[in-house]
């Protein structure tokens, strides 16, 4: 292969995953990671999973090179008390969406390997029970910088 062609191919391949995370019936959108304070060993990740197919999808696992472990967490409140519990079954019926968002259910990245800075891209890999793999690219956001709430 000629060198320019090779470079273009490599560039295309590197752009491809960020363009689309579609590799099956599961569509993963709006993935981002809350920038953790420097000493934090955990970070929350958020995303929306949608089953665009007509069959049940069960999530087998999710992992990331940025953390020792990634878990889907269910957040609940009772009497002002905040509980987090790992969701053992992450399943989506045909057409169903699961939303993981700030202040609610989230993904928990445990034992971060490196400090995550605003603008960093975190890759996560989600595997479903049928063996499909989905590559997710989540940008790290510094929530202290907000576009809609300016004050000096």
């Amino acid at each position: 292969m000629k060198k320019p062609c090779f470079i273009i191919l490599v560039l295309m391949l590197s752009v491809l995953p960020s363009l689309s995370v579609y590799a099956g019936d599961l569509v993963i959108e709006e993935a981002w990671v809350r920038m953790p304070p420097p000493v934090a060993e955990t970070a929350a990740a958020y995303m929306t999973l949608t089953n665009k197919g007509d069959k049940l999808i069960m999530v087998e696992s999710i992992d990331s090179e940025a953390a020792a472990k990634v878990e889907f967490h269910q957040m609940s409140m009772s009497n002002g008390m905040m509980h987090m519990a790992e969701m053992k079954d992450v399943r989506l019926d045909a057409g169903e969406s699961l939303v993981f968002k700030a202040g609610s259910n989230h993904l928990m990245m445990i034992d971060l390997k490196d400090t995550l800075k605003a603008g960093d891209k975190v890759s996560l890999q989600l595997t479903t029970k049928d063996g499909s793999k989905y590559q997710i690219h989540a940008a790290v956001r510094d929530m202290r910088v907000q576009k809609h709430e300016h004050h000096h």
């Binding site: 304070p37 000493v39 008390m81 509980h83 519990a85 202290r144």
Partner: protein, 187 residues
């Protein structure tokens, strides 16, 4: 006569016990402000912040979602205040996880959100007394080294002698926190 003195004995005993009870109870209320707390700069007490309102929150650094969101709201609320107003408020983050959250670590954690914030922990009896004073429950969920803690996530606005002026949910937006502070600064 014997009967009578017995009556008086019991009467005085009862009086003594009830005054002891009163004393013990009022003492327990006072202790919230006197409980020694550890900050990176040494021991502090709520009573150290004279003529200041205290905005007290509870959490831990391994909490990835709710705790940083709450502290973000607190820091934004402080930024909504004027410099003069801000001097009359002290935001304090109390760690429900003294096992992992050292005062040094906690300081770095809160500094990320706001320079004017301080963070404290307490251990053993002081820890449980402090939580009890504000009716905070905390529960470690496993023995895994990456354990999580379920905890009450209210924000407290405290006046003199740690008197509770306002209790807000952890999701309270910055401008409502700032409003609550302003309201009590005027009083």
């Amino acid at each position: 006569m014997f009967y009578k003195s017995k009556f008086f004995q019991s009467f005085f005993l009862l009086l003594f016990l009830s005054s002891l009870l009163l004393f013990a109870c009022s003492k327990q209320e006072e202790t919230a402000v006197m409980i020694p707390l550890q900050s990176h700069a040494g021991e502090v007490h709520l009573s150290d912040f004279k003529n200041q309102l205290i905005l007290l929150s509870f959490g831990y650094t391994h909490c990835p979602d709710v705790c940083p969101a709450t502290l973000l709201h607190v820091s934004q609320a402080l930024n909504l205040l004027s410099i003069a107003e801000r001097k009359k408020v002290q935001a304090i983050f109390f760690s429900v996880d003294p096992q992992r959250d050292t005062p040094e670590l906690l300081n770095k954690y809160v500094q990320y959100f706001h320079n004017d914030m301080i963070a404290v922990n307490a251990e053993g009896l002081n820890y449980s007394r402090f939580l009890k004073a504000f009716n905070i429950e905390s529960q470690q969920l496993s023995d895994d080294p990456n354990y999580e803690i379920s905890h009450t996530s209210y924000l407290f606005l405290l006046g003199d002698d740690a008197k509770v002026l306002d209790i807000m949910g952890h999701e309270t937006a910055a401008k409502f926190i700032a409003e609550a502070i302003r309201k009590h600064l005027k009083d």
